[in-house]
Symmetry: C2
Subunit: 741 residues, 2 copies
């Protein structure tokens, strides 16, 4: 069997690939060289103020990792491998000064046979090159447009300029018998109405000989299929699984996982190696919505909306979720635990889809393992975002290998729903299109290597929509006004900003800058000002428009968080009310990789829910009462109107309900209407009556609308709107003044 030998690395930097660092510090592996250096030299926390700028120089040096091979017993024809899932980004590997490998690309694993080069005491060196940059461009994402390095760390409107690199995945030596399993993969096609599966098993061995045993274990660990074959170097066989227990996304059924075990035995029956692969059985197609031809109805006729509605195991579903970004700037520090907390919160929020946006990394294996387990589908983009990735021969060569490596790894996960070329590539600010060679290459590789998995070139495609990312638009309309007039097949990005909690702000903003927030300084470094259009993401004029001046930091934070929560309720629910034309609602963004001052995220850094998280969780309940209210701010004399809906995402019908709409006003509660709603069919919704009330003369207040399902409080919903009446009280006192005269 394979023996694993950990390596202990030191890291230093040098001005050239062949120069010797003046100093080495202990390296955390997995980790990032930049953070190792900062920790060893007592750098202040990069998350505070603009300390991240202290790391700038680290982009342009060579990081040199060194480790000595410990005393290792290697007997007979055993072989020694240096193995890791990836090294970020361009690097070479040397043994006692001899260069054994040069590679560009962080997603292609390294599995380097060192047997001929090493002995106990051999010095292994990994030289990591400077961050790839197109020369002559400003220090922003455009520098990343000629590499497969994720562009986000070059600076984004919610991510500082801070580019990590190095040994970000586990690195170890493995002593393997001469015969070992290079790879074993089981793939399937569901047949017979998703009841059975045709399996294909591909096994490659380091050399022929011995016997291979392949076993499929069900969720209880019991063998349901088994096959033994003579050990050929490359082995492929097919089997039929006569009965399949399907994997379902969160809330549509169980996340049943099987395990395929591939074992290699020598002629005497001794086990030499074993590989395990978890398998979930699922089919997922992207379909056009039923009105996809609505834009092609008049001459000259155009095309139908692009397909984006997910059909899972033959059932069309509404996809609820968010845009996932990796949870740490220093990706080497991400662990299964980092992921687990945040993915569990997504499950609890009734989410079933993450869009893993192309600006960031393809996450580590534990991310996909957790999504497999928790039923969160993954829309996986390749590392292209908001740039024009020109198809030069060099770029295409790297992209070809990197994308093959990504596909080969991730296609094994049942949670993988969709491949996508990258983010917003078919927009002016990127300038790519269907003819871009990089996208033609990705489409071809996905078809060749994973044909049954949908591939889309980018988001948005025709019919889909991105944005906006503010509560109140520059034209004065709020999201409650805008959303009902939209008609998109999928809302794959939209946002409402809110501030981080005061204690987080105190941990990143110097005390003297804390209140009131101002542009420049730490708030701007943490994306409260000038991050994007206008005063994003704090949007102080919006807060002031609704609430007037804020007197304390706590008050300001609370108000922005209130608006964020209310805005997300409007968008998530309206997208659902537009089913089946709309079938996807993914806010920008779910989490964040460092503590922001203000951002569109639902989870603060480290996975702490903002108030918006809880509001979204309510709006994503699979069965619920929902109210469409067409504006947020109300005035005296206006007809407050709430259009009532019952939403049902599930495969079960929602029984008949009595629904009551109640508006809480300063002078008491008013029941606006009672709706005797019949049964709501599966994956469907129904529209009820509109609840209407003319608003009287009150002082400024919050209007609370409660839509209650009788006897089913878990279906009921509560909404909050603002009522503003600057004239209130004035007339009365003027009247009183007049009487007094």
């Amino acid at each position: 069997m394979v023996k694993k030998i950990p390596l202990s690395f030191r890291v230093g930097f040098a001005p050239a690939a062949d120069a010797v660092p003046e100093e080495f510090v202990p390296a955390s592996v997995p980790g990032n060289a930049q953070l190792d250096w900062a920790n060893a030299h007592g750098y202040p926390d990069y998350r505070f103020a603009d300390n991240f700028r202290l790391f700038s120089w680290m982009e342009d040096v060579f990081w040199v990792y060194k480790a000595r091979i410990p005393a290792t017993e290697v007997s007979g024809d055993e072989r020694v491998f240096f193995t890791t899932a990836g090294i970020d980004y361009e690097f070479e590997i040397l043994a006692d000064g001899e260069r054994l490998l040069y590679q560009e690309g962080m997603f292609t694993p390294v599995d380097l046979d060192l047997t001929a080069y090493v002995k106990s005491g051999t010095e292994l060196t990994v030289v990591v090159y400077p961050a790839p940059k197109i020369p002559g461009l400003p220090a922003d994402r455009s520098q990343a447009a000629a590499s497969v390095k994720p562009p986000v760390s070059y600076g984004w409107d919610w991510h500082p300029r801070l580019i990590p690199s190095g040994l970000y995945e586990e690195v170890r030596l493995e002593v393997r018998p001469a015969s070992f399993i290079r790879d074993a993969e089981t793939r399937y096609l569901l047949t017979d109405g998703y009841r059975k599966a045709d399996l294909t098993v591909d096994v490659s061995l380091s050399r022929p000989g011995g016997r291979v045993r392949w076993t499929l274990l069900d969720k209880k660990g019991e063998a349901v299929l088994c096959e033994e074959r003579p050990g050929e170097e490359s082995l492929s066989f097919s089997l039929k699984l006569p009965e399949v227990e399907l994997w379902w996304p969160n809330e549509f059924g169980e996340q049943t996982l099987y395990t395929a075990v591939t074992e290699l035995f020598d002629p005497l029956g001794n086990k030499l190696d074993e590989k395990r692969q978890r398998i979930g059985f699922k089919d997922l197609e992207l379909k056009m919505h039923p009105r996809a031809g609505m834009d092609a109805e008049t001459f000259p006729k155009g095309r139908n909306h692009a397909p984006v509605q997910m059909m899972v195991n033959g059932r069309r579903i509404f996809a609820k979720g968010s845009n996932w970004v990796h949870p740490e700037i220093f990706i080497g520090t991400i662990t299964r635990e980092t992921y687990e907390k945040q993915i569990e919160l997504a499950k609890e929020a009734h989410f079933n889809l993450f869009r893993v946006w192309g600006g960031g990394i393809v996450n580590k294996e534990s991310f996909f393992d957790l999504c497999d387990e928790k039923g969160i589908l993954v829309w996986q983009e390749f590392p292209l975002a908001c740039n024009n990735y020109v198809g030069t021969p060099h770029y295409l060569k790297i992209l070809d290998r990197e994308s093959e490596s990504i596909i080969r790894r991730v296609r094994r996960h049942v949670s993988l729903a969709i491949w996508c070329g990258g983010n917003e590539l078919f927009n002016d600010w990127s300038g790519m299109d269907e003819q871009s060679l990089a996208l033609r290459l990705l489409a071809s590789n996905c078809y060749r290597m994973d044909p049954m998995r949908p591939y889309m070139n980018t988001s948005p495609l025709f019919g889909m929509g991105h944005g906006n990312y503010v509560f109140r638009y520059p034209d004065g309309r709020d999201v409650y006004e805008v959303m009902p007039s939209c008609r998109r097949s999928a809302y794959t990005e939209f946002g409402c900003p809110g501030m981080s909690d005061p204690d987080i702000l105190r941990s990143i903003i110097p005390g003297e800058e804390l209140f009131p927030p101002k542009p420049g300084g730490a708030y701007e470094a943490h994306h409260a000002f000038g991050a994007w259009e206008g005063n994003t993401w704090l949007c102080p004029e919006t807060v002031e428009y609704y609430f007037g001046e804020s007197r304390t930091l706590e008050e300001l934070v609370e108000r922005t968080q209130f608006l964020q929560a209310r805005g997300y309720v409007a968008i998530f629910e309206e997208a659902r009310r537009q089913w089946p034309v709309s079938s996807m609602s993914l806010n920008w963004c779910y989490n964040e990789p460092w503590p922001s001052a203000a951002n569109n995220n639902l989870l603060s850094y480290g996975g702490r829910p903002k108030p918006a998280y809880y509001a979204v969780k309510e709006s994503c309940r699979p069965q619920m009462v929902s109210a469409r209210v067409r504006k947020f701010l109300w005035k005296k004399g206006e007809l407050f109107t709430a259009e009532l809906f019952l939403l049902n995402d599930l495969f079960d019908a929602l029984p008949a309900q009595r629904v009551r709409a109640v508006l809480r006003l300063p002078d008491g509660e008013r029941e606006l209407c009672l709706w005797n709603a019949p049964e709501t069919a599966p994956t469907s919704h129904q529209e009820g009556p509109a609840a209407i009330l003319r608003l009287g003369d009150y002082a400024d207040c919050t209007l609370t609308l409660s839509v209650e399902a009788e006897g089913r409080p878990e279906l009921s919903s509560v909404y909050e709107f603002l009522y503003r009446n600057p004239e209130h009280g004035k007339e009365k006192s003027e009247g009183a003044a007049a009487l007094n005269q």
Copy 2:
């Protein structure tokens, strides 16, 4: 050297693949079995009335071709091959009853080594299976949705139901030396601003040995590059061509053609084999137009218009042309001469692009040779149209091989501009989309095998437009009203119908049905009625709306042909005036495969121009004066308005012009305006003043607008509109009557 031995075939039919036909008739090869049988049995002309229906039974039989191998001297290690560019559609080949090959697919060549099976007198049999049909569907194109058989012959709105099959390409025996060239292909990439080329030569030999000499001849036949290599079985080498004379589309420059000659010599220096490939050096990209983001300007943002603007050798051009359909129902009868006349007419009409629509065949080699020579770019679709080609394993397997064969053959032609998956696949009536496996396969094959050639999934894509196909819309607007309000990136299909000339009608319509045309009978069989929506393609109510009742066939034909010509002028020129948003204008359709009674074509069957051809030719002059007039029918008192333009498609500036607009009225000519136009930049246009006149009281007449470039009559244009005044004369006579009282 290779010896070619013609074969003489007979053909008969049988009810099963292994049944023996009762009767054989002489077979024309290349040709079609159905026509051979009809000719031998004195069938009436399939083009007359509904005689094509006599061929229906022929769809479902097996056509059995037989030929005896003539006395053939085969010496030493020579080999005998049965070779053809394709057999339509599903077939098997037998030698003396032994089955040697079974194949489905008409575009994959057959090159069958018969050496072991044949001697003089051996009987070769080719059994062609019945036309592929999905069982249980009506007799229309939907039956073709599971095969790579072109669907048009299953019936279209301008093509009768008549499905040819058989040996439609040349078939011969070849006696080859043991060493011969299997294939030799030279490919290139233009470099250094289109001034130089990197060449790659791939040669495969039947067996290693001897020497290979590769020579590049320039257009005068002089060698400009030469390379000799030892004869390996598979040989690949690269060369640099330091100076390139580019190939240009019609009217943008010369159609310079080089020739690559690959010769194989035995060790003694005797030439064993030779292959020639003509090469034109051209680069063509599809680009987005400058306002491609105009639909993505508001939130939620969508995507940019798809790229469709052709950039040839670094210059953006306006593409003018038409939709080509194959010029004979019986494709086996098409020769170079059939193609040549029609392609020459396209060149004379200033066309530079044919869209070869996916309903039909991929044309024979001579079609592409002629397009190479005459500078007509080819937009080549794969044989998919207006159906949902479901990606079953069987269909994908055939499509995979057929598309590879098509790509491998056609990519060698410089005229090939664009690959396209097929026609109108992203519309409701087809139901395919980006996720359709057939299109993902085609995209992948085109990228793998011809990466520098643009590939698009279908037409229309986002931004492009198809239709309408009538002069006057159901809502009462005419094409002069509709077109200026459109804003499409490419008009890749649009039509105006007109009748065939009276002598053609007399050759296809029985005398008693000739006039007036009525639905049912021969007119309907020839698509004058009920072909598509409404009374297409005759549209009698449109003719009557403009002209009243027609008294003779000649008058009716003239009127429909007049409307067709006027309609095409409106569309072709408006598309050009919308440059650079619009960059393509391709009417439906150019030619026809049998004589129609009425159709949207410019060339009648056999290549005879209709009046519309000459009108379109005028509207496609690369430099010209053009007038936008926003309706066709005018009345008393209306302000006749002509917006003047100078159009310049060429790379040279159009010098300053004095332009005069003159309207010819019943009471004489009126000069409406004089425009002193400055120079018009290359590939550009300029808008001038509007020429305006209030229309007086005349009898019904034709208004003739002449826009004249002083001293440059070749730039001047003449337009005709209708003036209708039903009250004219009535008042006068009423007044006279009153006076008389």
